[in-house]
């Protein structure tokens, strides 16, 4: 009877993990819609191609070597399906952990849940470099980012390994529940390195230093994308509890869902009204970024804050993201969708907020962790982007940029029946 209950728990936890993974997979659709809504119509096909291709590249590279680098194990996931002793091994782990102990679930479900996070991290990069980067250069970057750069920092954080044998982040009091730093800050760091080498879109900054708006072509699409990301985030944070099938885990999952939602709401309202105060108008795109900022800010620790604290943390994210976007434009870092602000600035904020509600985590540990992630990803990305720039070039020609990447990169317009 006990064995059967353990088997059932294993099945439920695995199922929960898979469903959460599928929700996170759906975030790729959210990024695709958000980004295609915030670029100009002439770059829509290209950004959609980029988003769906990067998802596939990320999954393949993480299968080839990423997962092995991050969590140990074998390349190509050899043996992940479990051998002849699968049931006996799983039951032995269950007995050891106890009914309310740590999570025990299928190895393949673990891979599936982890791989969609890699894709999310890579999606962050695509928005920031939109409308001017060569598709081939981006995909080449994606290969290394998802196969090596992300898995390395993942192995130092969630993987628990020492950073080049020097120090172990977990021992320093570092904690990142679902990846404010590991996924979001990392993606933003790679994006920042790319944008610095890529330069702004033509026409974004005038010679006199003023900022020219380049309005997105489809705000309903951007809004739908944000809703999809918001929904996917329940899998992102909720799944990161890793376990569902006992009372305390189920409660933890419910709290995480509640707080994740609360933070998005806080972020949206704060960004909407800050934009209203700063610009005199309710700026929808800022509100969308605000919701995502709240989500990123709560991702480092959605399980310990109260609902009110989560809302306030989200609101801090919302305030930060608007200021950060305006600041980025001041220093001429052109980020069409605000990805560096949403995922970088607010990812850092999320890490720094953890010690407020989680006693087991220290500010110094969070700062060292954030620095480790940022320096590693930023420096390796900068080197990689530089190599790509020297070898194949990372930016489309001026004429191609004016025509739009749809025609120059994909030979296909997104809306061929629209007259211009």
């Amino acid at each position: 009877m006990e064995d059967q209950i353990y088997q059932l728990q294993y099945a439920i936890d695995t199922f929960y993990y898979l469903v959460c993974g599928a929700l996170v997979m759906w975030m790729a659709a959210g990024f695709a819609m958000l980004e295609s809504g915030l670029v100009r119509a002439k770059n829509t096909t290209e950004i959609l191609t980029k988003n769906i291709a990067l998802f596939a590249v990320a999954c393949i590279m993480y299968m080839v070597c990423g997962y092995a680098l991050m969590y140990g194990g074998t390349v190509f996931l050899t043996g992940i399906e479990g051998g002849e002793t699968l049931v006996a091994d799983a039951l032995a782990s269950k007995v050891e952990e106890g009914f309310e102990g740590g999570a025990v679930y299928s190895g393949a479900s673990d891979f599936f849940f982890q791989v969609v996070f890699v894709a999310t991290c890579m999606s962050i990069v695509s928005g920031a470099v939109a409308e001017r980067m060569k598709l081939l250069a981006f995909l080449a970057f994606a290969v290394v980012m998802t196969g090596v750069i992300y898995p390395m920092e993942g192995s130092w954080t969630w993987g628990g390994n020492a950073v080049f044998g020097m120090y172990t982040l977990g021992d320093l009091g570092f904690s990142d529940f679902a990846g404010s730093g590991i996924v979001h800050l990392a993606g933003a760091s790679a994006a920042l390195a790319g944008v610095l080498l890529l330069g702004p879109r033509k026409g974004k900054y005038a010679a006199d230093g003023s900022v020219k708006a380049i309005p997105g072509c489809n705000l309903p699409m951007a809004t739908l994308g944000t809703f999809i990301l918001w929904m996917g985030w329940f899998g992102f944070n909720g799944g990161s509890v890793l376990k569902l099938a006992d009372v305390s885990s189920a409660n933890a999952v419910a709290v995480v869902f509640m707080n994740t939602n609360a933070a998005a709401c806080g972020g949206l309202v704060a960004a909407l009204f800050l934009a209203r105060a700063m610009f005199g108008k309710f700026d929808l795109t800022m509100a969308l970024n605000g919701a995502l900022a709240g989500l990123v800010a709560i991702t480092a620790e959605p399980s310990t804050p109260t609902a009110l604290e989560a809302t306030l943390f989200g609101a801090l994210g919302g305030l930060l993201v608007v200021s950060s976007i305006v600041f980025m434009d001041k220093i001429k870092i052109d980020d069409p969708v605000g990805a560096i602000s949403v995922h970088g600035s607010c990812g850092l904020l999320g890490l720094l907020l953890v010690p407020i509600t989680n006693d087991g985590v220290s500010f110094s540990g969070q700062i060292i962790g954030a620095l480790t992630i940022f320096v590693w990803v930023f420096v390796t990305s900068l080197i990689l982007w530089s190599i790509l720039k020297a070898v194949i070039g990372i930016r489309v020609s001026e004429e191609e940029e004016a025509t739009g990447c749809d025609v120059s990169e994909c030979g296909l317009e997104a809306y061929p029946e629209f007259t211009k």
Binding site: V211, A213, I214, G216, A275, V322, V326, D329
Partner: protein
Amino acid sequence: MKLVTAIIKPFKLDDAREALSEIGVQGITVTEVKGFGRQKGHTELYRGAEYVVDFLPKVKIEVAIGDDLLDQTLEAITKAANTGKIGDGKIFVTDLLQVIRIRTGETGEEAV
């Protein structure tokens, strides 16, 4: 015969069409157009940065009429399209040399 070309605000199109039917205008041609007048477009705001919309969307109505209907037509359009605010548009009147109904071959006032 006269050709009346009116540039009006798009949301006033239905009112103008109704007013013209009421006075017995038999047909009109409508085109979506863009342009600017004395105000030179307007500014919009996106993510904190202003940008200028140089050309505003308008609707162009073309009405071919006999001379007797001219004053009524002008009055109908002016009344229907007036909001009293900047950007209500303009009406141009030109002489019409010839009109031909393609199906029957009728010409002149009969074809209007």
